[in-house]
């Protein structure tokens, strides 16, 4: 059953990768890479059960946090064209 889940996750990862490749818009790529990160951590959890070492679950949790931070940085970049201080006359840069 875990093998089937791993296979399904591989297929989903492939499809997300294709979407990140083709685009066409920025949001397609952000969503694709975010979904790709989620699939990766699910894959690590499934591999943990597949090799009968469920303690891999801790790593999957850390990956979820990293994925979230990355997505926040990316969306901030797209919205404000900056990661910290305001650029030009955009006042919202500090958010």
């Amino acid at each position: 059953m875990f093998a089937a889940a791993a296979f399904a996750l591989l297929v989903a990862m492939g499809m997300a990768l294709v979407r990140a490749l083709m685009g066409p818009t920025v949001y397609d790529r952000i969503l694709a890479v975010n979904a790709f990160g989620t699939k990766t951590l699910l894959m690590i959890a499934v591999v943990g059960y597949l090799t009968e070492r469920p303690e891999f679950l801790d790593i999957a949790l850390v990956y979820a946090l990293i994925n979230f931070i990355g997505t926040v940085a990316v969306t901030k970049f797209v919205r404000f064209r900056s990661l910290g201080h305001p650029v030009g006359d955009a006042p919202e840069g500090e958010i």
């Binding site: 791993a6 990768l17 490749l21 790529r29 890479v33 690590i44 940085a73 990661l83 201080h85 305001p86």
Partner: protein, 177 residues
């Protein structure tokens, strides 16, 4: 089953690496290199190198993506068209790759308990580190005590790199009117 997963993850890594080379939209390149890092971290987990996978996920997929986005705020989003197809470069890369593969040929089997790395100093560390260092985790005693100068050097390198990146990104210039 694990071998199949290895092959699938490796082929997805090849696809994303080639795409990073081909695409001219730099934002897409940053996104794809993040995906590449996640795949590399998955591969490390599959190879049982859990701590390396941790580092790869935190540094490769997390910090490196954020740093590259910070760089992207200062450069155009589109890569300039350059002349393609440098045969000499391809030759150099192929030769280097062949050399690296040749270097791995006489390495011991993956997971071989008789490999030199498991017979050289590891038994001594496993036996003597509780008495010599006193930490319950042997990896920590190796990193912090036996290889203390090495770790100090690494930390210095990372510290210098952080200062350089901060200078480039203009930290502390935010209060300028």
């Amino acid at each position: 089953m694990i071998e199949l997963l290895d092959i699938a993850v490796l082929s997805m890594m090849v696809v994303s690496a080639v795409a990073v080379l081909w695409l001219r939209n730099l934002f897409a390149v940053v996104m794809l290199s993040g995906a590449y890092s996640l795949l590399a971290a998955t591969l490390y987990v599959l190879l049982d190198a859990v701590d390396v996978a941790f580092t790869e996920a935190a540094v490769g997929a997390g910090i490196a993506t954020v740093l590259m986005l910070g760089t992207l705020t200062m450069v155009p989003r589109q890569e300039k068209e350059t002349r393609r197809g440098s045969l000499g470069g391809l030759l150099v890369v192929a030769a280097t790759g062949a050399l690296l593969v040749y270097g791995t040929l006489d390495m011991p089997e993956f997971g071989d308990p008789d490999a030199p790395i498991h017979r050289h100093v590891v038994p001594r560390y496993m036996q003597d580190s509780p008495a010599e260092v006193g930490l319950p985790n042997v990896v920590t005693s190796v990193l912090a005590s036996y290889r203390g100068y090495d770790t100090l050097g690494e930390t210095t390198v990372i510290f210098t790199a952080a200062i350089g990146v901060m200078a480039l990104l203009g930290w502390g210039r935010r209060r300028k009117p």
